[in-house]
Amino acid sequence: MAIGATRPPGTPGSRPRLAAPAGRSSGRISRQVILAVVVASTLVFGLSSYLILKGQRRALISQVEHQAHLVSETIKSSTRYAMLLNRREDVHQIIDTIGRQGEIHQVRIFNKEGQVIYSPEKSLLGEFVDKQTEACYACHAADQPLERLSRPQRTRIFRNTDGRRLGIINPIYNEPSCWQAACHAHVESQSVLGILDVTLPLAEVDRQFAVNGRRAALLSGAAILTIVVILWLFFHQRVVKPVARLLEATTVVAAGDLEHQLPVRRNDELGLLQHSFNDMTRRLAAAQSQIYQSDKLASLGRLAAGVAHEINNPLTGVLVNSSFLHRRAADGSEEQKDLETIVHETKRCREIVKGMLDFARQAPLKRTTVDINGVVERALKIVDNQLAVKNIKVTQALRDDLPATYADANQIVQVLINLLVNAADDIGPGAGEIYVGTELQAVEQGQAIEIKVADNGGGIAEQDLGRIFEPFFTTKDQQGTGLGLAVVWGIVQEHGGSIKVDSRVGRGATFTILLPVISTPGVVGGGDQATHA
């Protein structure tokens, strides 16, 4: 895999392309939420205002209805006496007086044929009303005798050119006193003698209703606006801004900056999201550096193999010829010295190429069930003399209930020897201490065995920390091959483990290896199984 392919595209052009729709979409969400709230609150406020206003209107109308009824009854009772005496002038007089009051629109009495017999407006007298309209249908349409009608049935609301009216009819029933009256105007068989119709204007009610409606609309509007503003502010502060920061962070990370971290100050869902974003970025960075490293190692391997073959032929020519000439040159001559240098330097080239090849062809793992503590002890035994000579004290802290794991014991020994020798070199000529410990750690995939190798030597400079696992990186000048830690890294990787280093100049270094605990060979799905078949 090419290194470039493992990295997210970091071209400058990709950032605005990503950022633009991101910015729009966060605005769109807040707009969508606000729109939903506006629609919902409009519906709620609208419906409740409608119901309240409807109730109010009903109450107002029923008040007018009551008033009309009162007027109607008043007229009926005031004219009763005049009617009994058949004094029509008096009836006219009373109706005129009452009907001229401002709050009353119209007072009419018509007989059962629909002919107006009393009215303050003399022009209407003798006219017939249309039985299909007005209130007549209450009895006539139902084709029922004019008996007792309930008040709502007697009431009607209609619209004239100059506004709405409420009319109430009041049938004047035949009574014994009527047919027994001296005038004998009515016969006993008649049930209804006439209809008193009183009409009141609804202008005041309608005005009041309009005022209330406007007030309700205004209040609802203000409430909705307040909610929207508060919601928008809240949303902007608590959602849009952090989401925008998150989006910006994703573009930054996408552009290749895996160091980017978001400040997490909340513990709500967005806080969790930020936290997991940071976590993801950290893991991504770790994974990328591992991929980058193994990629680098793989390409180095290919390069080494190619270079080795190409360079070995010319090196052979140089080495054979120069050593041949060196052997034939006069002892102690200038030429012999020069040729010795050529031979020596060519041999150095040979060692470098050999190192590259050695590194490139790390042996495949031969896993068996391994007790890591045993492996650690084996490694310590091997370097025991070397450490004792250097006056280095070794402290062991091996956890005694470590589970066995499926690993290549020899390669793990190699890892430990490299780390121990490295630690010893770091300690230098003076006395020092090395700590070796094993622990059991819980990791995501189960359990891992932790192996720690710490020393109190010179430590590693900060700028070198990132490079110490690179092949051919050495701080030991001519002494080291620069492959020790790269080999360590490669072996730990092959085992599916990880290695990290903590160090400060003058404070020594601590290498921590995590090897996954693999209890059965079946769990390892690698080609390294083939050799055991």
């Binding site: 073959h309 010319p314 140089v318 052997r327």
Partner: protein, 261 residues
């Protein structure tokens, strides 16, 4: 019978090797390919063949196999610029006298040439092995080195008949120290004597746990008794089962029979 057959496709290397052989008073036939070499072999035999592993067209391995079949007495030294342990193992297991990785210097080249010529010239000697050594089950990397698996799980490693009586006398031995890792097909020991350098390629991988202390005291021990007191190191083998199966198990009488070639 000619002296040396050199098959190498790189002109500079071919010329350098041929020049060195001539300086040793050896008559050299130079070839750049297997086909040319086979044409010469059809006419005459050689005391020694130096063959590059990677050649254009047919590989050096094919020539090695042809030489082992047609001219078993001719020691064949395989040269390779792609000096992997696999190539070394394969060559030695196929019967190559030795494996010479590029780039080599004059001491390494002269060493292997002289030792091969001594080997080709020596007569098989009977009863060279001690009784104790013969009893052990011995695994061989060609005629080059051997290993025995000991009761305690360690393995003893030594040089085989291509070093026996061919070093020309006492030599200085450099072996890795205790705790060093050896890899099969890689250098285990280096022998130096009078401008000659010889290398022993390890038949097994593992960690060195003991080095034969006698070797330093008696300089010609390896030359005299490589199968017995001249053993080199004891190791904890990394993967004995697998690696031993790649070697050749031989009994004492077979060793002697194949010893002289």
């Amino acid at each position: 019978m000619r002296d040396v057959l050199v098959v190498e496709d790189d002109g500079v290397v071919l010329a350098a090797v041929a020049r060195l052989c001539r300086s040793e008073d050896l008559r050299v036939d130079e070839h750049g390919s297997v086909d040319g070499a086979l044409a010469s072999l059809a006419e005459t035999g050689y005391r020694l063949a130096l063959v590059d592993l990677m050649l254009p067209g047919r590989s050096g391995i094919e020539l090695l196999e042809a030489l082992r079949a047609e001219h078993p007495a001719t020691p064949v030294v395989m040269i390779s610029g792609y000096a992997t342990s696999e190539n070394a193992l394969r060559s030695l297991q196929l019967g190559a006298f030795d494996f010479l990785p590029k780039p080599f210097d004059i001491a390494e080249l002269i060493g292997v040439i002289r030792r091969a010529l001594r080997f080709a010239g020596k007569r098989p000697r009977q009863g060279e092995e001690t009784a104790a050594a013969a009893a052990a089950r011995r695994y061989f990397l060609g005629r080059h080195s051997w290993a025995t698996l000991d009761a305690d799980g360690t393995a003893t490693i030594g040089a085989a008949e291509s070093f026996q009586g061919t070093l020309g006398g006492p030599s200085r031995i450099t072996v890795g120290g205790i705790g060093d890792h050896v890899t099969r097909g890689r250098k285990l020991a280096q022998l130096e004597r009078g401008g000659e350098v010889h290398r022993v390629w390890s038949p097994l991988s593992g960690l060195i746990v003991a080095v034969n202390p006698e070797l330093e005291i008696t300089a010609d021990l390896l030359d005299r008794d490589p199968f017995g007191s001249g053993w080199l190191v004891r190791i904890v083998p990394a993967d004995p089962q697998d690696e031993l199966s790649a070697l050749t198990l031989r009994r004492a009488e077979e060793e002697v029979a194949t010893g002289g070639g």
